[in-house]
């Protein structure tokens, strides 16, 4: 083999070795693959969180119960902790962060409920819901955007 051809081959092999090492090492440059369990956790939490807000909003015939509110917040807290444990088991910091962001909003909602000791103001809920829904939709879209999603083209 001529010298220029040999040099070119060496460069190509070096480039491929680096690329191959990156691809196979689970390097932070990449993201972990799609996970059906994580997707399910995001969608379940979205349904739970929106239902929680709906149930705790002031409307005709509804009365505030501190016990019910505390119980609903505890149930939500457990669901978020379970999802967090699952995400930590997968070891991808972006997935953990995505979940953390949603959990933060839930904790803030419970904090507000405990502070005001009454059902949520419907005007506040009308303003909060689109922002919260979009937050969950982005987290779900983030899971779907990962590689090896069997449903993506």
């Amino acid at each position: 083999m001529h010298a220029p051809a040999r040099a070119l081959t060496h460069r190509l092999v070096f480039f491929l070795s680096v690329l191959f090492a990156l691809v196979t090492s689970g390097c932070a440059l990449f993201t972990s693959h799609y996970d059906a369990g994580a997707y399910q956790n995001f969608t379940n939490l979205k349904a739970f969180h929106l239902k929680f807000l709906e149930d705790q909003t002031a409307q005709e015939g509804a009365t505030y119960s501190e016990e019910r509110m505390t119980s609903a917040c505890d149930v939500g807290e457990l669901k978020f902790r379970e999802a967090d444990e699952y995400a930590r088991g997968k070891g991808d910091s972006l997935r953990i962060d995505a979940l953390d962001v949603l959990h933060n909003v839930f904790k803030d909602n419970c904090k507000l409920a405990r502070k005001q000791k009454k059902l949520f103001n419907p005007v506040y809920i009308n303003e909060l819901t689109p922002t919260l829904t979009r937050n969950y939709d982005l987290a779900i879209a983030g899971e779907l955007a990962r590689v090896k999603n069997p449903n993506s083209k």
């Binding site: 081959t9 190509l12 491929l16 690329l19 191959f20 990156l22 691809v23 440059l29 990449f30 993201t31 972006l94 962060d97 995505a98 962001v101 949603l102 933060n104 909003v105 803030d108 909602n109 507000l112 502070k115 005001q116 103001n121 005007v123 506040y124 303003e127 909060l128 922002t131 919260l132 979009r134 937050n135 982005l138 987290a139 879209a141 983030g142 955007a145 990962r146 590689v147």
Partner: protein, 108 residues
């Protein structure tokens, strides 16, 4: 959506003139941004300021809405990072497979 000036004018404290100027500047920048999340954040904050001034929202509710918006923007940033990393991986894996299977395979 509330206008920027009506949102800024909800701040009555004269000692906050600089804050009002900064708020007006940021709301104007957000309004013209090409990213939907940023544009919508500007619109929402302007609306919430007016609702708070009218007494439709309490200070705690207003604060909670701002926090929810802040968390949405964090989620948006995470999603962009996932998109970028996934794209990089698809390209890198595609390149390795293509070169290993087609080019090296033929050359050797």
């Amino acid at each position: 959506m509330a206008s920027i000036s009506s949102a800024v004018n909800t701040i009555k404290d004269d000692s906050l003139a600089l804050v009002k100027d900064e708020l007006k500047s940021l709301l104007t920048q957000a309004k013209d941004d090409t990213i939907e999340e940023i544009r919508e954040t500007g619109e929402k904050i302007a609306t919430w300021l007016v609702m708070r001034a009218k007494g439709e929202l309490t200070d705690d509710e207003f604060q909670s809405l701002l926090y929810a918006r802040d968390q949405l923007l964090r989620q948006f940033k995470i999603k962009m990072e996932i998109d970028a990393r996934a794209r990089l991986e698809r390209i890198a894996v595609g390149l390795v497979n293509l070169v290993l299977d087609k080019i090296i395979g033929i050359a050797f």
